[in-house]
């Protein structure tokens, strides 16, 4: 970020990693592997620099944060932003948009 703001730290859970493996495998079988892999990388990039791209889903109470939903076609991700810590966590498996063929 050019104005000196540090990027967000983005952490994924083991469940998200495992489900992503299945999703990529499914995409490969359907000839959509490169599209999905590119979307995963773009999603991760955006979460590091601009997690606000998604829309708010709900406020998280115990540590002030916000659950948001963002799409990078064909993917849809729900993630939490903890602004004070500049931390983004992805603990809910990444899904695909309806009619994405996946």
């Amino acid at each position: 970020m050019s104005n000196g703001s540090p990027p967000y730290q983005v952490a994924y859970s083991e469940l998200v990693r495992n489900e992503l493996e299945k999703l990529i495998a499914r995409a490969e079988e359907r000839g959509l592997g490169s599209q999905v892999r590119a979307a995963v990388r773009k999603l991760d990039h955006l979460l590091h620099i601009y997690p606000q791209f998604g829309e708010p889903l709900l406020d998280l109470s115990f540590v002030p944060g916000q659950l948001r939903i963002g799409t990078v076609p064909p993917l849809v991700a729900r993630y939490a932003i903890y602004e004070e810590q500049r931390l983004v966590i992805v603990t809910i498996p990444i899904s695909t948009l309806p009619h994405s063929g996946l």
Binding site: N3, E84, R86
Partner: protein, 143 residues
């Protein structure tokens, strides 16, 4: 608005930029918004990068202010428009439909979320760069 304005924007936090330019928050947002209508160049141009970085930092600043005041985040229209510009900047023109929002709320599993949160607190979590290459090797491309 010339190179000096952009230079200040790109090298400063929003608070620093306001101080250096002698502008109130909403006035600076409005000037940056105006800049989005005139800036040329590719997506990676320094001008666009500066506007994008300012917008992201302003959102972060507003969120923290709202959290500290225990108030809901209620961005001014200028900031809302800048956020919209930033979405388009990244080609994110496909909005979230009401159906998708409804699905996301209905299927949100708090237990799964909290289990993942506890795991990340305990282990630090995983970074994509640490496992993406491995995933791609495990799943050999068939295209």
């Amino acid at each position: 608005m010339g190179h000096d304005f952009l230079g200040i924007l790109s090298r400063s936090t929003p608070a620093q930029a306001r101080e250096r330019l002698g502008l109130a928050t909403r006035d600076l947002d409005a000037q940056v918004l105006q800049l989005t209508t005139t800036v040329n160049g590719d997506n990676d141009s320094p001008e666009r990068e500066a506007i994008f970085a300012y917008t992201a930092a302003r959102w972060s600043e507003s969120t923290l202010e709202a959290q500290h005041a225990a108030q809901p985040l209620d961005p001014m229209p200028e900031l809302e428009e800048l956020l919209g510009w930033a979405r388009r900047y990244y080609g994110l023109t496909q909005g979230i439909t009401p159906e998708l929002l409804d699905w996301a709320r209905r299927t949100f599993n708090e237990e799964v979320f909290l289990a993942g949160l506890r795991e990340i607190e305990a282990t630090g979590g995983l970074e994509l760069k640490d496992f993406m290459d491995e995933l791609e090797q495990e799943v050999a491309p068939r295209e």
